[in-house]
């Protein structure tokens, strides 16, 4: 007793401000709940891993769509025009026309496909070989595949399209944009599907974290009862569980990022090889800083929401008996 009094006299207690008490309390609770997780490293890791995979999945698919879009976007400018010539154009004239077109500044190259060559290809690939043999003569025209030069703008492409169409030998000019548009439409659908899937996976994360914290609450039921018995509010007994949810979300988000980056690392080699084959310098688009931050943010939000939701339901129920 005497010792205590002396200590009091020597060092008068400095009154801490309520804010600093609140802050240091939160720091100690957050570290406490972190310590609790580290006491069961395996099960904590499992839950973090489940959250990470659930977050990484939509993030990865989103990245694939983003890359597909950027690659297909570059294809827009490298479209070929298929110029189908009239049936009565002789093969020599057609070849001459091809050479003439190739002279143009806005044209990179012209490939001549003769009618017989086209029919041969069609027989080989269509599977109608025998039926096509029955035809009295070749219904296919000669074709010029015109590849526009790299310097074209979309306006100059339209002009080229028109001029090719106005040639007297031309029957029809086809631009292969349709499949690009279809491809983009498909990507849009995939994007929508990701959004829906991601929402479902988000619900899954809330449920996983909620359930984990529910078990945690059951395990610490006695502690909660005792704490409430000596005057703890619902908010007080809730706090460590909210922090647990926060940590699950944060580590889940960080691990999801690690998974996505590891996946990118694994793909780097094959993509470089593919790019080499196409003699292009396609590089994988990685996540932007905002996207990476969003994954972590979503993880933390879902973790907090899951624990908030569960504790709101269960804390009220546990009352001292």
């Amino acid at each position: 007793m005497a010792v205590t009094r002396n200590a009091d006299a020597v060092a008068p207690v400095r009154a801490s401000s309520p804010l600093s008490i609140w802050f240091s309390r939160h720091v100690s609770i957050s570290i406490g709940s972190l310590g609790r997780l580290s006491r069961h490293p395996f099960s904590s890791l499992m839950i973090v891993l489940v959250i990470a995979v659930t977050l990484a999945l939509p993030a990865a698919i989103n990245l694939i769509v983003k890359n597909a879009r950027s690659i297909s976007g570059s294809w827009d400018n490298a479209l070929d025009f298929s110029v189908f010539l009239t049936q009565d154009t002789p093969e020599d004239d057609a070849q001459a026309l091809g050479r003439l077109i190739e002279q143009r500044a806005d044209v990179d190259s012209v490939l001549f496909i003769s009618a017989s060559q086209a029919l041969g290809d069609f027989k080989e690939h269509s599977g109608f070989g025998a039926a096509l043999d029955q035809l009295p003569d070749n219904p296919l025209p000669h074709t010029l595949v015109v590849r526009p030069g790299a310097g074209n703008t979309s306006a100059s492409m339209i002009l080229l399209h028109e001029e090719l169409g106005n040639l007297p030998e031309t029957e029809h000019v086809q631009v292969d944009t349709e499949w690009v548009q279809r491809f983009h439409a498909i990507l849009d659908i995939v994007r929508q599907a990701i959004a829906i899937g991601a929402a479902l996976l988000g619900i899954a994360i809330v449920v996983i974290i909620g359930n984990t914290i529910r078990l945690d609450i059951e395990n610490r039921r006695n502690e909660i009862e005792v704490t409430k018995l000596i005057g703890a509010s619902n908010a007080f007994v809730r706090r460590p569980f909210l922090w647990t949810g926060f940590w699950y979300g944060l580590f889940g988000g960080l691990m999801a990022l690690a998974l996505v980056y590891y996946g990118l690392f694994l793909l780097q080699g094959p993509v470089a090889r593919l790019a080499g084959l196409y003699q292009s310098n396609i590089a994988i688009a990685t996540m932007s800083f905002q996207e990476a931050a969003a994954i972590i943010g979503i993880g933390v939000f879902l973790g907090l929401f899951g624990s908030w939701f569960t504790t709101a339901r269960h804390m009220r129920r546990i009352e001292p008996r």
Partner: protein, 227 residues
């Protein structure tokens, strides 16, 4: 400090734990509640601690009618009362000092001030040298003293105890009662449920005898045969 006016507690099954009980405990009193198990001692303490509310009648503690304390205000209400339990109700995952500090942490007392008060409380029950130990390494008597230190650490005006010596041998019981006596001497009001009549008589405190949820009309019946 405590007034019960015609307080009745009826459980859903229909049986009455307390039947129209009226009693009063003054400020600074040290009062024992005796009676067989099932007489209503625990229910009386539970009504005071607001673990239960009376079915009818009134329980007034330090001027507050417990029936009017809102659910959200119950934690703040309980913080005014120190509580000691037969089974100690300590948290076994943390050291003695952290157990004693719990009411202060709940009340939002700063770390420095809390640790000073914890040491003072442990000193009062003679366990200052065990502050870093885990409760399970302590004897039953020591654990009960930790429970008492936790109950008094925030200096409540009222302390209620439910069979605090129920698991202790006579020497340890006397020790615990002496500690209670010291708190009473500095003005704390105590209400202690116990069936250890010989011990109560040695302390010479007022006794409220309960039987079947009512005040016992003839307390002499219950006199300890050894006295």
């Amino acid at each position: 400090m405590i007034q019960l006016e015609n307080a009745t507690k009826r459980f859903p099954g229909g049986q009455e734990a307390l039947s129209g009980l009226s009693l009063s405990v003054d400020k600074g009193e040290m009062v024992f509640v005796t009676g067989h198990s099932g007489a209503g001692k625990s229910t009386l303490l539970r009504l005071i601690a607001l673990i239960e509310r009376p079915t009818s009648g009134q329980v007034i503690v330090d001027g507050q009618n417990t029936s009017r304390v809102k659910r959200r205000k119950i934690p703040a209400y309980r913080r005014q009362i120190g509580m000691v339990f037969q089974d100690h109700k300590l948290l076994y995952d943390r050291p003695v000092a952290d157990n004693v500090a719990l009411p202060l942490i709940i009340a939002g007392v700063g770390h420095r001030e809390a640790s000073r008060k914890v040491r003072a409380a442990l000193d009062q029950v003679g366990l200052l040298h065990k502050e870093k130990q885990r409760p399970e390494t302590l004897s039953a008597g020591e654990q009960q003293r930790v429970g008492i230190a936790r109950a008094i650490v925030s200096r409540p005006k009222l302390l209620i105890a439910d069979e605090p010596t129920g698991n202790l041998d006579p020497d340890l019981s006397l020790e615990v009662m002496r500690i209670f006596r010291r708190f009473n001497e500095v003005g704390v009001t105590l209400l202690i449920a116990s069936h250890d009549i010989s011990l109560i008589d040695r302390l010479g405190c007022r006794r409220i005898a309960l039987a079947d949820g009512r005040l016992q009309q003839d307390p002499e019946e219950e006199v300890d045969p050894w006295l």
